[in-house]
């Protein structure tokens, strides 16, 4: 089996898809989510949220545009597909609603809208491994309270909320991929909390609190049996902890200082998932849109590959498809790029189903040396 390193090494630009051709106010692509567990992988969908408050669906392998959902009235903060039933798409927004979309019906309409429990917008959402619970984290309300709200998906009923463990808005909630009662939250107060939902009281449910001393941007479960939890902060530090004991497994605190000159990076995008606990891969980027994939397992970060000529603005989100070894990236230039390690002839000029493709950007002059 090809190792992740060599797969990442061979990635090349295969496909590009633009969501808007307006050059004056480009729409940013903010988050990506993908359908897993779908039998015909060629039909699998990828959802991308854009800053014009819509969710766009694409085919996961070819980036052919499938449909758009005019989802919310304001910023969409989180999306996720269902785990057991991949036809469910959940989205959360600052307009104080969490909506559940059924992708089988067309036009897609919100099968359910979840509200209540608080009076502010939601910062993140996730669904648990057996699709029974939906949890959303909120922003700070007028009383300076922050909530983590739970609903029963099938009954659309409000189950309860946690409010004691946070001081600032919750930017990420992630259920454990296999344990249906375990959830982690990351907030702007720098804390990653792990809860055991089998306990009735919030005080007892709080198992572990991990302090990043900064502001949490992304969290996720990783490692063997998903027993570790990782976190990327707004100040571009990367932490991995053992989720049961709380021991620090890995910490990368000043990555930007270690890479200078040609190899310099400006920010971290996300983690490239790997089940191999001993290795850590990060996708990082530069302000001009280059993506650099790094192996940060050892003290000196190793650059595996540099993906350029794809984006020309900050890259905001990535999705790595393990089955067909492709990487999809979305950025502030309204482009979705597909990078593949197989030799697919780039299809930048074909028009499939009338999708307009943005022309490859001409090489920018760099009059000042970086």
């Amino acid at each position: 089996m090809e190792s992740l390193t060599s797969q990442l090494n061979n990635l090349q630009l295969a496909q590009k898809s633009a969501i808007s051709l307006a050059k004056t106010e480009p729409e940013y692509i903010l988050t990506l989510a993908a359908q897993e567990n779908r039998c015909e992988d060629s039909e699998s969908l990828l959802a991308a949220t854009s800053s014009n408050f819509t969710i766009r669906l694409y085919n996961k392998t070819t980036l052919a545009s499938s449909s758009n959902i005019q989802a919310h009235d304001t910023v969409i903060t989180g999306i996720t597909f269902g785990n057991e039933d991949p036809n469910i798409l959940i989205s959360s927004s600052s307009d104080k609603t969490v909506k559940c979309w059924d992708l089988r019906s067309s036009p897609e309409n919100a099968a359910q809208t979840f509200q209540g429990g608080c009076n502010t917008g939601f910062g993140s959402v996730d669904i648990n491994s057996d699709d029974r619970l939906i949890c959303a984290g909120t922003e700070v309300d007028k009383n300076k309270d922050v909530f983590m709200i739970f609903w029963d998906r099938r009954k659309s009923s409000y189950l309860g909320s946690y409010t004691e463990s946070f001081e600032n808005e919750i930017t990420q909630v992630k259920f454990h991929p296999s344990k249906s009662d375990c959830i982690a939250s990351g907030a702007s107060d720098g804390l990653v909390n792990i809860f055991n939902l089998k306990e009735t009281d919030e005080d007892d449910a709080l198992q572990l609190t991990l302090n990043t001393e900064s502001f949490v941007a992304r969290i996720g479960w990783c490692g063997e049996d998903y027993s570790n939890i990782y976190c990327i902060t707004d100040v571009d530090t990367y932490h991995v902890w053992d989720a049961t004991e709380g021991d620090v497994i890995k910490e990368v605190l000043n990555l930007k200082d270690k890479l200078k000159g040609e190899e310099s990076i400006d920010y971290m995008i996300d983690v490239v998932p790997t089940l191999d606990t001993s290795k850590h891969f990060l996708a990082t980027g530069t302000k001009s849109g280059d993506i650099k994939l790094l192996d940060v397992t050892s003290k000196i970060p190793d650059m595996i590959s540099c993906l350029s000529k794809g984006h020309n603005e900050i890259v905001r989100c990535i999705y790595y498809n393990v089955q067909n070894r492709t990487l999809v990236t979305g950025g502030e230039d309204s482009l979705l790029c597909l990078w593949s390690s197989e030799n697919i002839t780039p299809n930048t000029n074909s028009s499939k189903r009338g999708v307009k493709m943005k022309q490859t950007p001409t090489k920018r002059l760099k009059p000042y040396k970086r």
């Binding site: 903010l30 800053s51 304001t74 463990s165 001081e167 198992q207 609190t209 502001f215 707004d234 100040v235």
Partner: protein
């Protein structure tokens, strides 16, 4: 340092000191803060920027830090006359929400030994989380005093939903030179975080707690 007129900055700092020490002296140590107005930035869609930077001169010397430690750290704390608590004292609180809240109110920040920090949710419950004062971990490799100095000297820039933010960067009892260095460090750091650097900064002001605002950019 590129866009700020050095003399202008020195003069503004001078004005602040003049006002707070001569014109209207107050009964407490006024702190000096830097206020930043941003532009060309959409908090809804642009990438959030935040950062923490350690200033060379401590902006808040009266910040109270409590050590929650194991035996070694507690001994070090007592030797340096810093307030401390060990695991037994924490257990005595018995997860009583009111007592934990009181503890959180008494101090501005907490440091905890690595072994103890894992037990904090179980010993104290989420009280410290809610107060925003969850302890930062300390290991035995660092000197306790230096870590406390580090905590006191670090300032956080955090982007909220609005286009302005402010941070405390000094106080009246510091020398003007110290304030000058701190202001420069903070501004340069902030600008390096922004996507378009100086293009994102609309205005910069400094002021003391009770004094008038001095514009520096």
């Amino acid at each position: 340092m590129s866009k700020i007129n050095r003399d202008n900055l020195r003069e503004s700092i001078n004005n602040i000191f003049e006002f707070s020490t001569k014109t209207k002296k107050r009964k407490f140590t006024e702190s000096i803060e830097l206020q930043i107005g941003l532009k060309n930035y959409d908090p809804q869609k642009d990438k959030r920027f935040s950062g923490t930077i350690q200033l060379r001169h401590i902006p808040k010397p009266k910040m109270k830090v409590c050590i929650l430690g194991d035996q070694i750290h507690c001994d070090q704390a007592k030797a340096n006359e810093m307030p401390c608590m060990d695991a037994d004292m924490l257990k005595k609180l018995n997860k009583d929400k009111k007592l934990v809240k009181k503890l959180a109110k008494r101090y501005d920040a907490f440091l905890a030994s690595e072994t103890l920090i894992k037990q904090i949710p179980r010993l104290l419950g989420p009280g410290l989380n809610k107060a925003g004062k969850f302890p930062t971990p300390i290991s035995h490799n660092q000197s306790l005093v230096s870590k406390v100095q580090q905590v006191k000297g670090t300032i956080k820039f955090q982007m909220k939903k609005v286009l302005c933010l402010s941070v405390c960067i000094g106080h009246i009892n510091m020398s003007q030179e110290e304030v000058y260095t701190n202001v420069n460090l903070a501004i340069n750091f902030l600008v390096s975080l922004l996507k378009k650097n100086w293009q994102n900064v609309r205005t910069l002001h400094i002021k003391s707690s009770m004094g008038p605002v001095q514009r520096i950019y």
